[in-house]
């Protein structure tokens, strides 16, 4: 049971990274970007490609990856951002200038998601991929918890990243201008803030988070072309639950969803197993997130933490 909790926390951390990026993007860009899941996938596959390029078999002690992974993640993030910005420039920006409604932008982003997913399928094929064939060793921790070294790395990195992003938003000029636009876009313009610059930085920040989250997911689970599409649901649910644009909301919701998905499916699975019913409950994980958000929205239409005050 405790293992499920840890598993959920790690998974929740990955969702949180993505959710923070998505909540900022949804708020500042003003629409739900269905292609965001694909940025997540791009990051993962980008790292895959680059580790292949580096082709180094050296690993850190106790881990299944080495410096080549670290370098690859960074470069993959840069490539992912470049692609995101390109898509914005060619596609979203003209639409934005034309003043199309958010609904329409969402629909357009759906198209983008299909294009990227198709490209991933074409380039890497439908088979499942892994960063490394080595088995991730789990170690014994106090309280009888089992956790792999990889999961520890993911947890620590996630935690650090969240803090970094928070500091970035709180203290840097760009971070503050992003928050200003999120709080009150019109007033931000009136203060002389260039919203196009803010938008570019939003893409950059959320792109970095998506790419890293994707890689972490790849390390922890696997890579499949559909991974982006599947991850959309927990991500969006986290954003809606936490309130659009709400940094802490996204973080807390991400953790809640991650933990719930693991715990609930794990417990139901145990229950079914004990009743000798064979069924694989883990496939229904996305449904858990979905049911959660329906329940919460029924009670609190603006998410757990609400949006902005007047």
């Amino acid at each position: 049971m405790l293992d499920l909790l840890i598993s959920g926390i790690v998974y929740g951390g990955i969702i949180t990274l993505g959710a923070i990026g998505l909540t900022l993007m949804s708020d500042i860009l003003g629409f739900f970007n269905f292609a965001y899941g694909e940025y997540f996938a791009l990051g993962a596959y980008g790292t895959l490609m680059l580790t292949g390029v580096f082709n180094s078999s050296s690993t850190f002690k106790g881990l299944t990856f080495g410096w080549s992974m670290v370098a690859s993640v960074f470069i993959s993030a840069i490539i992912t951002i470049a692609i995101i910005l390109l898509i914005d420039f060619i596609f979203f920006r003209p639409l934005r200038k034309r003043g199309v409604t958010p609904l329409f932008m969402a629909l357009a982003s759906l198209g983008v998601s299909f294009v990227i997913r198709a490209a991933i399928n074409i380039i890497w094929g439908p088979k499942v991929r892994y960063y490394s064939n080595a088995i991730q060793l789990s170690r014994e921790m106090p309280f009888g918890i089992h956790i792999t070294n990889e999961e520890i790395v993911i947890l620590v990195s996630t935690f650090s990243l969240v803090i970094l992003v928070y500091l970035f938003l709180k203290n840097t000029r760009i971070g503050k201008s992003m928050r200003a636009v999120s709080n009150n876009e019109l007033l931000a313009k009136v203060c002389g803030i260039n919203t196009e610059v803010v938008i570019v930085w939003t893409w950059i920040l959320s792109g970095v988070l998506a790419a890293i989250a994707g890689t972490f997911y790849g390390i922890r689970v696997q890579l499949r072309p559909i991974m982006g599409w599947e991850f959309l649901i927990p991500l969006f649910v986290a954003v809606i639950m936490g309130g659009i644009g709400n940094f802490w909301g996204a973080m807390v919701s991400g953790m809640i969803i991650g933990i719930s998905e693991e715990l609930i499916t794990g417990l139901v699975q145990n229950l079914l197993n004990s009743m000798n019913i064979t069924a694989d409950v883990s496939v229904y994980k996305p449904a858990v997130a979905f049911i959660l958000v329906v329940l919460i929205l029924l009670l609190k239409p603006y998410g757990l933490f609400g949006r902005k005050e007047a």
Binding site: K176, S177, R179, A180, N183, N184, L186, L187, A188, K189, V190, C191, G192, I193, N194, K308, E309, A310
Partner: protein, 243 residues
């Protein structure tokens, strides 16, 4: 000819509105350097819209807006603020989840290095803000919020400040205080102010006034004359006499 060039702001016969619905029908106003000018009138007259067109937030459909002799009606709000024109909207005029200090920082976003100095100037007008420096703006009281909103606009030391009903929703004693501050602003910052108001009090702080109703300027005169104009009083102030 020399007189005309001295006008800080000139709005000439503008038509503007939202979508197909027009709100302003050929409105002309002007503000000189060092003046405080009021725009008053009933609800829905288009007063806020007028300020919005000047600030570049709403596009005009015809006419011209000149600021310091240059046409600004096609510029973006970001460019306009860099030219020395500040706008304080009536609602949604602060960044609620940012601290008081951050709000002022945003107000001074375009400043190169005078940030601290300018903040001190704002504190000299609104000392209460200094105490609330690290509080989220959304947690301030109504009066404090208004002060912050105006303070935000002052950070760039605008030559012309557009104030949209700065006293709206304030308790009477705060109304008076705010209006006095407006006077201080013009003296200390040497800003001109274009003030939209519905209260009589504000009129008294300005030299000239325009009566805007149904999207048209009905009267334009010095405030003394306006306040003594029976027609104006009857129609728009419900017969409240001014002492």
């Amino acid at each position: 000819m020399g007189e005309k060039n001295k006008k800080l702001l000139e709005v000439r016969r503008i038509r503007a509105g939202y979508g197909v619905q027009d709100v302003l029908f050929g409105v002309s106003v002007s503000v000189d350097e060092g003046e405080v000018v009021s725009i008053f009138g009933p609800n829905g007259a288009g007063k806020s819209t007028l300020l919005k067109t000047i600030a570049g937030v709403v596009r005009i459909k015809s006419g011209e807006i000149l600021f310091k002799g240059i046409r600004i009606d096609k510029l973006s709000p970001q460019s306009i603020v860099k030219n020395g024109l500040g706008w304080v909207p009536q609602e949604n005029n602060i960044f609620p989840r940012m601290t008081v200090r951050e709000n002022l920082e945003m107000g001074g976003f375009t400043l190169k290095d005078d940030l601290e100095e300018r903040m001190e100037e704002v504190f000299s007008i609104f000392p209460q803000l200094r105490e609330k420096l690290n509080q989220p703006a959304g947690s301030l009281s109504g009066g404090q919020r208004q002060m912050l909103a105006v303070g935000r606009g002052l950070m760039v030391r605008p030559e012309l400040l557009l104030l949209d009903e700065p006293t709206a929703g304030l308790a009477p004693n705060l109304v008076h205080m705010m209006l006095e501050k407006v006077g201080e602003i013009t003296r200390q910052f040497r800003s001109s102010v274009l003030l939209v108001t519905q209260t009589l009090d504000a009129l008294r702080f300005s030299r000239r006034g325009y009566l805007l109703a149904s999207g048209e300027i009905k009267y334009e005169d010095t405030t003394d004359s306006l306040l003594n104009n029976e027609e104006v009083k009857k129609l728009y102030f419900g017969g409240i006499t001014v002492s």
